[in-house]
């Protein structure tokens, strides 16, 4: 203990350090602390609870004095939580001495505080030195202990919320990079083709001044000169046409590829996100993002960005040419430009936010569809078509509303720009005529100017349109990057341990888990030996499936660790780890396709013989043969064409085919009748041999073969033992069993009388 320096002081929130140094005695050192952010009435406030090697101290910011309690026999520190608020309570044998409330962000710190408290209490009461577990690393920011595998603190890491940069569109560069060569060519082509389109107006100048005006003044037309100028015009037009074609083709090619990359990358990333992410998202929204929005970005890059680039180049070139011809007239011509720039700036943000809203509401419309179409049977069964139609109508109505609002800003914008350009043209006329009258320019110059300006202002107009499109694309890009920036909550380890084969030993150490703020399991300790069959039983909602989710690492534990063959599963590569697990889910899900494809889902290269063997083992073979196309029959979307029990058997076959070391059966046979279940059971018994198996079943008879039964109640293990032991104990399991046995008896009696009845009927 002596070696523990007062290091913790360094990390202590600054407001407390001074106050505390006055409180502590010379040789007292801080071991752990918990920042309190709520008062007893659950108002926001600040405070702190500290465990030192001598006592517990606490103070709220507006309290006058510190409260302290020395370690003594019977002192107890516990924490519980409800709806995101933790409660830390200090008891002596007679009463509660104090309690503190805090938001759950601090839960790690609270656990650490309790741990330190218990160690110190033990030391002070029994004189036993705490084991020097102090060697494990600690987070430099919050002081939480890190396990060997964690290089980043799980507490602090999750608080890292840096918003992405506003310049989202630039982030598309990541996807454009592989095509930079072609993009450069495309850009050069754009440059050239734009330059080519600028030749004709330039030629009008000499045509006017050297041919037409002299002719008006009585000179004959110089046909050679005319020919020269006109062929120049034609040549420029043809050149512009060719270059324009080349650049459009080149850039569309690139943008299609960028779009496809964007889409696949986003989808791949999405697939790797944890179940937690999908739990919080709506299907329609995600589909809208990956489908419609990547397409919009694609279009933006291929058409509008190109136009925009052309416009900018054109405007710059025109400006240069104009200035080179006559700086004063050029200045007047370019005057509306800053005003337009200012206008763009004015509406840009508004438009972007507006378009983001439009996107969101569009996703909402999608959501309604994604919600009702799969649930159509329920909708029809309860005759709620009208209501669903109304819901869709309402979503569309909101879509209109928001679009109307955006369009109001937007529709004002374009005419304003047009008006400005018209006025600009007028000003150029006035100023030009005045200059001609002063003999400062020739008629040709003014004509050329007007020709240029025509194009120039048209470009301005289309450029202003691009504002809205850019903002739309920016909004879409942002929503795509929302997905791409999301870090999976079951992250891949930085330096993974590869286990090509596993024994199948599973160990749960102090496992605690919560969905959001809702605490589901706590303090689960369990070692499952390789090859052992474990039955998980307990009431509905007792956390059986949750435990399976944790073992499969669909979610990461919030406390403790799960080890397979002695390795924390967080250090194993995810896909590799899951290859060792055969899982049959409570709600079997089949994909659109044939039965064979569905069975071979986990092992696409399986031979037909393997598929049939797996189907036989799962007792699916016979019913499959009864289908019109046998193994090539289509199962319909989500397996609709099959019965519940048939779906279950296919998913059992699917799990068996990959020949996993660990087999997890979550209510795998709940939808089949008892006879079929017995058959499957028999087949499974062979297969289960030698594999670590975790089986969940409400029908306790299913689990008779299990080596051990784990009885769960409200997220805790209440009993462990085999059937006979647990029956002898007459505890929780016993009650559960008796209650079921009674039902089964009744069922069987009903069944027998029914068969007798029908037999009697046949005799007649």
């Amino acid at each position: 203990m002596q070696k523990t320096p007062r290091f913790s002081m360094n990390n202590l929130p600054a407001i407390w350090t001074d106050e505390l140094s006055a409180q502590l005695s010379e040789d007292e050192s801080i071991l752990a602390w918990l920042e309190i952010d709520l008062d007893h009435q659950l108002h926001f406030a600040t405070g702190i609870v500290i465990a030192t090697d001598k006592r517990v101290l606490a103070k709220m910011a507006d309290d006058g004095t510190w409260q302290t309690w020395a370690y003594q026999q019977g002192l107890q520190l516990t924490q519980r939580d409800h709806a995101g608020v933790g409660c830390l309570e200090l008891f002596d044998p007679h009463a509660r001495l104090a309690f503190w409330r805090y938001r759950l962000g601090n839960v790690m710190a609270a656990n650490r505080l309790i741990e330190c408290f218990l160690q110190q209490l033990d030391y002070h009461v029994s004189g036993k030195l705490p084991e020097s577990s102090q060697t494990s690393a600690q987070c430099p920011h919050c002081g939480a202990f890190l396990s060997a595998e964690q290089d980043e603190c799980p507490v602090c890491e999750k608080q890292n919320h840096i918003p992405p940069s506003t310049w989202v569109l630039l982030r598309l560069w990541r996807f454009a990079k592989p095509y930079k060569g072609r993009l450069l060519i495309g850009f050069l082509l754009t440059l050239c083709s734009t330059a080519a389109t600028l030749v004709p107006p330039y030629l009008t100048m000499p045509l006017m001044d050297n041919v037409l005006i002299p002719y008006q003044n009585g000179q004959p037309i110089d046909t050679d000169l005319v020919q020269f100028y006109l062929s120049g015009l034609l040549g420029a037009a043809i050149l512009a046409w060719m270059l324009g074609w080349a650049r459009t083709y080149m850039l569309s090619l690139v943008s299609e590829r960028i779009g496809a990359d964007l889409r696949t990358t986003t989808y791949e990333h999405l697939l790797n996100l944890s179940q937690e992410y999908f739990g919080g998202k709506r299907t329609g929204d995600l589909m809208a993002r990956i489908g419609a929005e990547t397409d919009r970005i694609n279009l933006f890059i291929s058409l509008h960005l190109l136009d925009f680039a052309t416009d900018v180049i054109m405007i710059c070139m025109t400006a240069i040419i104009l200035v080179s011809i006559n700086p004063w007239l050029a200045l007047v011509t370019l005057a509306p430009l800053p005003i337009i720039a200012w206008l763009i700036h004015l509406v840009r943000d508004r438009l972007r936010i507006g378009f983001e809203k439009v996107d969101r509401i569009w996703a909402e419309v999608n959501n309604v569809l994604a919600d009702t179409i799969p649930g159509i049977r329920v909708v029809k069964a309860f005759a709620q078509e009208k209501r669903e139609a109304a819901r869709f109508h309402a979503a569309n109505q909101r879509n209109l509303q928001i679009n109307d609002r955006v369009n109001r800003i937007w529709s004002l914008f374009t005419p304003t720009v047009t008006l400005l350009t018209e006025v600009g043209l007028l000003v150029v006329w006035v100023f030009g005529i005045w200059q001609i009258s002063q003999d400062e320019i020739t008629v040709g110059v003014l004509t050329a100017f007007l020709a240029y300006i025509g194009r120039f202002y048209i470009r301005l107009d289309s450029m202003s349109r691009i504002v809205s499109i850019t903002q739309k694309a920016a909004a879409g890009t942002k929503r795509i990057f929302d997905i791409l920036d999301h870090v999976s909550s079951v992250p891949e380890s930085a330096n993974p341990v590869h286990l090509p084969t596993i024994q199948g030993q599973i160990e749960l150490r102090h496992v605690g888990f919560r969905y959001g703020t809702r605490s589901i399991t706590r303090g689960i300790n369990l070692v499952i030996q390789p090859g052992e069959m474990i039955g998980l039983v307990g009431h509905s909602g007792s956390g059986k499936s949750t435990l399976v989710n944790l073992i499969c690492r669909f979610y990461d534990v919030t406390e403790g660790a799960i080890l397979v063959d002695g390795h924390d599963i967080r250090t194993l590569p995810l896909a590799e780890y899951r290859k060792h697990i055969g899982l049959v889910l409570q709600e079997p899900f089949l994909f659109f396709g044939t039965i064979a494809e569905n069975i071979a889902y986990g092992k696409p290269d399986a031979t037909r013989a393997e598929i049939v063997a797996a189907a036989r083992a799962a007792h699916a073979h016979e019913f499959i043969l009864r289908l019109p196309h046998g193994y090539d029959s289509l199962v319909g979307e989500r397996g609709q064409a099959l019965s519940g029990g048939e779906r279950q058997r296919i998913s059992i076959a699917r799990a068996l085919l990959i020949n996993p070391r660990i087999l997890i059966l979550d209510e795998a046979t709940s939808s089949v009748d008892t006879t079929t279940e017995k058959d499957i059971q028999k087949a499974l018994d062979n297969l289960v041999r030698g594999r670590t198996t975790i089986a969940i079943a409400h029908r306790l008879s299913t689990l008779r073969e299990a080596n051990r039964l784990i009885v769960l109640d409200r997220g805790r293990i209440v009993e462990i033992g085999n059937h006979a032991e647990l029956m002898a104990r007459e505890g929780y399991y016993h009650r559960l069993y008796l209650a079921q046995a009674r039902n089964v008896d009744e069922e069987e009696r009903a069944l027998i009388s029914a068969t007798e009845h029908s037999i009697a009927g046949e005799h007649k």
């Binding site: 709806a83 608080q159 919320h161």
Partner: protein, 157 residues
Amino acid sequence: MSATVTYQLTRNSYGRLVLTDQSGVTHEGVIPVRSFPVTDPGQGIALIDSHGHELAWIERFDDLPEAYRVLIESELASREFMPEIKRITKVSGFITPSTWHVETDRGAAVLILKGEENIRRLTASSLMITDNHGIHFLLRDRTALDRHSRKLLDHFL
């Protein structure tokens, strides 16, 4: 309804509610739970024992003797945590995750909004905002907010 109940309710020295029912059985650690905490907090309060079983049902608070009501209300007050946002003073940006500085009926607080999907529409004008730790912030009526807050909020809707 008359203010008669068939059980006794007290608070023990550990700060827990204790319910003694008609047959004299005592349940320690009784927890009051609202059935509709958001849409109708006053209707339907259940007293739940530590195993999650319902012990008593209170249709409305008015049905209770004064002393019990105070007891239950104080317990509810110390359990329920749904700060009501009164004002949004500052947001770090309009792109999530975004840090909001808000004033609530329980004092000033900072919340981190992880994504727009954490804003849930309850009715046309009321919203529930869930922060990164899963704390729910209630916005009872967004039309009643001041202009500044409304403008900030509007970016996220």
